[in-house]
């Protein structure tokens, strides 16, 4: 997922920039409070070096967090510990009396920045952990338990929760968007290939097939092979791109089978969607395509085909029946013994891989029916 890393980088970058902005704004607030309250501090002289440290750390983290390579646990831990240290120093500098009177700590508001940073970096759990640690420090430093003290901690906890959650959601949707973009690019590329192949290779193959068909013998065999490849190639380039999505996602089998309906092919199915895992659906569609292909290859033009899709709770059954020439049982056996019968094998193989069963019934003059049943219960 190299590309996805690069694009979700932009989201991360803007989040870290937001944290830096927050930290700077909080620093301004802290400075104003220190200037305002310095008169009541127990040890006012020490307030300035701590404020300098706060400012220095703000500048450092602004640069450090901007670099993805440095956003690692040591930095996060240092951020949390230094902020906790600044806060803890308030106990001595501001003094217990002033704190009890409701004066803020030296890290007020500023102390939320590392909590948010943890939430952005590690999601809800990290965010909550940092919020609890910071909240505990805050309560210990203040050393008195009134509602205002709790409210600050609870707000911080909620902020961590919300930010962690939002980051998760944003990342998931970002990934979905990236997947969609990839899919679209793949589809466009496939369409371009399809056009090219259609204009060149397919035409030639079709021509070979048509001219060679009348020649018989080895040329006839070549023509047959060319025809097979032409059909396969056509299926490949015109194939829907539904299989490009997640393998485990479910798709409506009918979106794959409906396109086969034509003047000679009737597709009967339930009105609703026939949902199957996309891998299974595309295998079934390929098997149906092979069966339809077989009809066009071996039967007279204009032979009608009926495809029936049945959706049951336990299994999906797809039948492909034609009213063509049919296959004599001895020919079927003979072909099988010669290792030919590619179609039957390919259908059996595909459906067999899905744990399904295939029944092929045929008689000369009565057409052929291929019935494929794929169980919904996963093996």
């Amino acid at each position: 997922m190299a590309e996805s890393a690069s694009t979700s980088q932009t989201l991360q970058t803007s989040l870290w920039r937001a944290i830096a902005v927050y930290r700077i704004a909080a620093l301004v607030y802290v400075t104003a409070l220190v200037v305002n309250n310095i008169g009541v501090y127990a040890h006012p002289a020490l307030a300035w070096p701590v404020l300098a440290l706060t400012a220095g750390w703000t500048v450092f983290t602004t640069y450090a967090y901007a670099d993805p390579a440095r956003r690692r646990p040591p930095l996060f831990l240092a951020d949390l510990l230094i902020t906790m240290g600044v806060m803890a120093s308030s106990g001595y500098i501001v003094g217990a009396e002033a704190l009890r009177a409701g004066k803020p700590t030296l890290a007020v508001a500023w102390h939320v920045a590392p909590v948010i940073a943890w939430a952005v970096a590690g999601g809800r759990r990290w965010g909550i952990t940092a919020a609890l640690a910071m909240g505990a420090t805050d309560l210990v430093v203040r050393n008195h338990w009134d509602q205002a003290a709790y409210t600050g901690t609870v707000l911080m906890l909620l902020a961590a929760l919300a930010v962690g959650y939002l980051v998760g959601v944003a990342q998931a949707s970002q990934q979905r968007l990236e997947r969609a973009i990839q899919l679209e690019a793949a589809t466009r590329e496939r369409e371009r290939l399809a056009r090219d192949i259609h204009d060149s290779v397919l035409q030639v193959l079709a021509l070979v097939k048509r001219r060679g068909a009348g020649l018989g013998g080895e040329a006839g065999e070549l023509a047959r092979l060319a025809g097979e490849q032409e059909a396969a190639l056509r299926t490949l380039v015109t194939g829907r791109s539904a299989e490009a999505v997640d393998e485990h996602a479910e798709v409506d089998l009918m979106t794959l089978l409906e396109p086969y309906a034509s003047a000679t092919v009737s597709v009967a199915a339930p009105a609703g969607a026939v949902r199957l895992p996309s891998a299974a659906a595309s295998e079934i569609a390929a098997a149906v395509a092979a069966a339809l292909d077989n009809v066009t290859r071996h039967c007279d033009p204009g032979t009608k085909v009926w495809v029936l899709v049945e959706d049951e709770p336990a299994a999906v059954t797809v039948s492909v029946r034609d009213d063509g020439c049919g296959i004599a049982p001895e020919r079927l056996a003979e072909a099988e013994s010669q290792g030919r019968l590619g179609v039957a094998q390919s259908i059996r193989g595909r459906i067999g891989d899905l744990g399904g069963t295939v029944t092929i019934t045929s008689a000369p003059g009565q057409g052929t029916e291929v019935e494929m049943t794929v169980s919904r219960v996963r093996a």
Partner: protein
């Protein structure tokens, strides 16, 4: 009576019907108009395009059946709107044909509809089959009022969906042609009855009796 919003199609169908010896009592381009004039025109068979500009096919069928109980509706449609076809059948249409089917097929379908026999395409059989399966798997499936197909009916419907003619089905299942027809008709009857029961139940629940 021919109901279709496409004038050329409408006239063509009317001409074909007249040539085949049917009396065309009315040609209409809109659903509401069809329902309005049906009592006066008294058609036996209505050839109905499922997509009309004003009201839905289902509304036309219910309107026609209310105005003229016993009228038979053969619907025509271009392919693709499966749910509409299914709804129309539930509302009481007894036949369905694709617009792309040939003239002979069409006249045969009209004749069968007039005789009271259902006209099924394989596609419609697939839809009906799917609908019964859906009803059976619904949470309310245990409800004794939910219609179920007998094994024979399912077998017959499956063969219709696979494109076998009634004659071929009769041969394969060693039944008479008439019996096959009855089975198909019963499946439709069950679905339409269920639809009426559901509608009534809905009306009572909503307090609109």
């Amino acid at each position: 009576m021919v109901v279709d919003d496409h004038p050329m199609w409408r006239d063509g169908v009317a001409r074909d019907l007249a040539a085949a010896g049917y009396e065309v009592v009315a040609t209409v381009g809109e659903g509401q108009q069809a329902v309005r004039i049906a009592p006066a025109a008294r058609p036996q068979v209505v050839v109905l395009d499922l997509q009309l500009p004003d009201i839905s096919g289902v509304e036309v069928i219910s309107g026609l059946l209310a105005a003229l109980p016993g009228v038979r509706v053969l619907m025509l449609s271009a392919s693709g709107e499966q749910q509409d076809v299914l709804d129309a059948v539930k509302a009481g249409a007894t036949g369905y044909l694709l617009k792309s089917s040939g003239q002979a097929e069409f006249l045969d379908a009209v004749a069968r509809t007039a005789a009271g026999d259902p006209v099924f395409t394989p596609g419609l059989a697939g839809l009906v089959l799917g609908e019964f399966r859906r009803l059976a798997t619904e949470p309310a499936g245990e409800d004794p009022g939910t219609p179920k197909l007998t094994e024979r009916e399912t077998e017959v419907l499956r063969l219709v969906a696979k494109g076998l003619s009634y004659r071929q089905i009769a041969e394969r299942l060693v039944l008479s042609h008439r019996t096959v027809q009855n089975h198909v008709q019963n499946t439709l009857g069950k679905l339409q009855l269920h639809n009426r029961v559901e509608l009534t139940r809905y009306a009572i629940e909503q307090g609109l009796d």
